[in-house]
Symmetry: C2
Subunit: 192 residues, 2 copies
């Protein structure tokens, strides 16, 4: 059926375009629609048929980022085992999306007055709940609020993505850098 074929093809292409745009905008956040189209291997006309304008593209990327974040949070099983292990699993799962996250992180600074997507609130809530669980179990310190720890996590993910992209640190160190700084800090531990 033409309708079936149409829908499937569009979906596949749309996803491919979205991935290409994410990869490009992660590196150059001011890329033109022409550049985005070229990066995806399609013409600007076709790009505009998929996403009616740059705004729609960014919104779609935001939705993709939210979906990947939520999937990562699901896969990390935040309510199982030690809270610190859950944090490690989460960073591990979210690492492939760190570049996209970094792009959306700065892009969100533009959405000044507008309310942010509901999906972010949900993800923020789930991660904050994990930090709160760690505090209740005595694993995490209580003088750093869950809200701040959540924000700091996203900030460190963005910083990590950029510092890896700039070549200052090896991609393999990404997970260790983020997790160890977030959980353990820079000070040397006496124990262990």
């Amino acid at each position: 059926m033409s309708h079936m074929g149409y829908g499937c093809l569009m979906a596949v292409d749309r996803d491919h375009v979205l991935r290409s745009a994410a990869a490009l905008l992660t590196r150059k956040s001011t890329a033109t629609m022409d550049e985005v189209a070229k990066a995806a291997g399609i013409s600007r006309a076709t790009l505009h048929r998929h996403f009616a304008g740059r705004d729609a593209l960014v919104r779609a990327l935001e939705a993709l980022g939210i979906a990947e974040c939520e999937a990562a949070v699901d896969a990390a099983r935040l309510d199982e085992g030690a809270a610190s292990d859950a944090v490690r699993r989460m960073v591990r799962e979210i690492e492939p999306a760190a570049g996209l996250l970094a792009f959306l992180y700065t892009e969100n600074q533009l959405f000044e007055g507008e309310e942010q997507h509901e999906g972010w609130s949900r993800i923020d809530g789930r991660i904050a709940a994990l930090f709160r669980r760690g505090q209740d179990s005595g694993e995490f310190r209580i003088d750093l609020t869950p809200a701040w720890l959540t924000e700091a996590l996203f900030g460190l993910l963005a910083s990590g993505a950029w510092v890896v992209q700039s070549g200052k640190v090896a991609p393999n160190d990404f997970h260790h850098m983020i997790v160890e700084l977030l959980l353990g800090g820079a000070l040397r531990r006496e124990e262990s």
Copy 2:
């Protein structure tokens, strides 16, 4: 003398415009030149007489940020006393400029191909040297590189500025949040 008066007045006004622009762009990084002018209480023509274009304005803001950072680093006396105390002093000194830093932090993501200002390299180097000193003295752990700790510090400063601006945490908690997370991490300490 007209020349004297001219120079002095320009300098004062220029600094005032720069501060206003920094305050506005910290909140709305995409503000128009008209908005910047209005925020400074001058006309767009006069703004353009001080800074020939948005690019020049951003460069001037970058120079201001570098100057304030360097002054903060100087005032913090990074090579005196315990490294962790030096970090605390530095964050304390740099806190007033955190908003401007956050703006420049995202703005630098646009300068893709271009080489960054030499001033940043100097500041990065001085801060990285502090972390290295802390490692050499056994105060800091050695598995987190000074380069990463430096980048993470700037990332946390930007995150802290935004989270305070959004009202999610109190401004008074800024210093404690940044320093304690950077130095101690989220895990509870057994000692002390």
